[in-house]
Symmetry: C3
């Protein structure tokens, strides 16, 4: 895929989200439920949060995508994530996995790896530490907002993408997205995004909305990160402090247009070597 | 009740909320806990959230109203809702039921129906799909923000109101409120309300605050929707985007005065046929 | 400690938080998880929320402080709080206890007392009713935002501080902090803080961040309240309504500088009698 093609396709997907308002089913952490719902609504999608073992399989059946986020785990939620993920797999509904804090505790590392193996996500999005923790038990996350992305993380992403047939996105100053063969490097976004809780989780949910309207998860993941990154940069205009910035980020997700995507998107393509 | 009477009475209730700061006990969903608490505080009431089976009966005993919202269910929460609802019933404390997502999954539909039957709510508030799901197993909600209100929904509302001796409010572009005999149609509000998560849940909580100071649940439900709708319209002044709008909605709930209620409230009465 | 010394020391601690970005592990209530995370991020610290019995001991081991907040309890969370608190104690990591709603229900009163006895917190922060409920079973909280602080509450604070070897902070119009011998009275803050949900919980989390960089919990508790109170007063400039105020409070926590602490901090010292 050529970068300009990706931007045109992303612009179309954004328009499609607003026309179709796809339902995105989130089993996510308590911290970001409200902000994630508002991000999805501002973007144009329809969020639903449901975690009961008794209903997740039914709920995911009416959704266009499933987002699994392990930010505040407990055993019942883990079971619900497995059930929902497997139901999504059977129904051909794309799952997006956010391994929040993988590497910080064994519970998170183990849960993230088991979900990766069992639910066959279309896309995994994390920061560098979290992605490395999915392949290397020695990696340790410093909290949940570590963001260095180096060669180790990219090697881990390739390994995961190839082993599980999925797309892996490492977000940070530059977002690195691979399908196991090529790379798309997205350099939108803004440093202020790391000063607001839940922006990583929101990026994952935005990818979920794109997966609901775009069959190619590589294009959906990179495209979602382009859109979220442009919104993040637009929101930073005037150098607001973090409280004001959080509000403007929601505003920007509502304001961003397909034209913004084409004119402001910054993607570099790296073909399979 | 004549519409101008309703507005005068609502203005008085608003003043009473600010004077008495009634405690509103919420067993509500994770997504909206923070925003609901801020809505109630801005309005002038005192929110408390408590869901443990071990404490809900005691907590509701010191409250002026109980709000049950099934937006993110699990078995322990369902049990807590039943216990709190029955304790409220025994103590004569009004319960307001929000059947979020009824119709979307069997768990939600069944839970909403069982709560309706067991706790004898003073008011039920939902969108058209949710209200229809309380009487018709075939109805399906599209996510949690469906908002068409047609004849079917009004027929369902009448049926519920008569069968359970409660007030039913269907919110949407126009809010339709019935006590099983007459109707009050509230046409305040603004389209932006549907672009922020939790506004339906907030409307239910506002009705809860009004029920704490107004013995007639028909007046309390319609009055709460008038006040919330006026705040929603005031907040939309200047056409803000959704992030800014959410902030202004809280500001407007603080700013709205009894005079605003009388001069801006829009209610049409429909007498029993 | 002399008040001017406290301010100089607090200014240094604030700079240290921004340099070291200490990880603050919160086991807190659903209502304030998002706002607490944003408060800590704006201040300069790194928040993590984790509550699973399976991971809290491991998570607290990589944290600089542990915040236990009982605002929305259930049995599994109580067990997690005990486990995390004991692990913190063994590792010499300071625990800050927020007994939200102690006195309102037996579950909360009992849980707060048991945590106080078992986890040996460095600091306990509550409003007057909550602090009194820790020593007197007859006290009753009116919801979770009662704020009168009189002689009874100060007597209770002294009793708790001496019995448990901890610092106790009673927040209200003036914040009263004791180590069981002397007092520091902090008179920063603003009335608008009580119109936004979770400001008490946020104050506790801010104290947590200070405890992570300041070994003396008396200085950390008073210093944290000075910083949070100054931010609360700065945010009130221009008399915003509560929605706008909540946003500005986050902005102010980002803007507040060590110089602000020295020039705007208001602390009165009261030596041991």
């Amino acid at each position: 895929m050529i970068a300009t093609e990706l931007l045109a396709r992303t612009a179309e997907s954004l328009a499609r989200i607003r026309a179709a308002r796809p339902l995105v089913h989130n089993i996510t952490n308590y911290v970001v439920m409200n902000s994630t719902a508002n991000v999805l609504l501002a973007l144009g999608a329809s969020p639903v949060m449901a975690h009961a073992v008794e209903e997740v399989e039914e709920m995911v059946g009416i959704a266009g995508a499933l987002v699994l986020n392990i930010g505040t785990l407990s055993p019942a939620w883990i079971e619900a994530m497995h059930r929902a993920g497997k139901a999504a797999r059977r129904a051909g509904i794309p799952t997006i996995l956010d391994p929040v804090g993988a590497g910080a505790t064994r519970l998170r590392t183990r849960t993230a790896r088991e979900l990766l193996a069992e639910v066959a996500p279309a896309v995994v999005r994390g920061n560098a530490s979290e992605i490395m923790a999915l392949v290397d038990a020695g990696a340790r996350t410093r909290g949940v907002d570590s963001s260095r992305a180096g060669e180790d993380a990219c090697a881990a992403a390739l390994e995961i993408a190839r082993a599980h047939g999925c797309v892996v996105a490492i977000t940070g100053v530059v977002d690195h997205v691979t399908d196991g063969r090529g790379w798309l490097h997205v350099s939108n976004g803004h440093a202020l995004m790391s000063r607001v809780t839940g922006t990583g989780c929101a990026a994952t949910a935005v990818i979920g909305a794109f997966c609901a309207v775009e069959r190619d998860p590589f294009a959906a993941a990179a495209g979602g990160l382009v859109v979220f990154g442009i919104a993040g940069a637009l929101a930073a205009f005037g150098d607001p402090r973090p409280g004001t910035y959080a509000t403007r980020l929601i505003d920007a997700l509502d304001e961003i247009s397909p034209e913004h995507v084409v004119t402001l998107g910054r993607v570099a393509e790296e073909s399979p070597g």
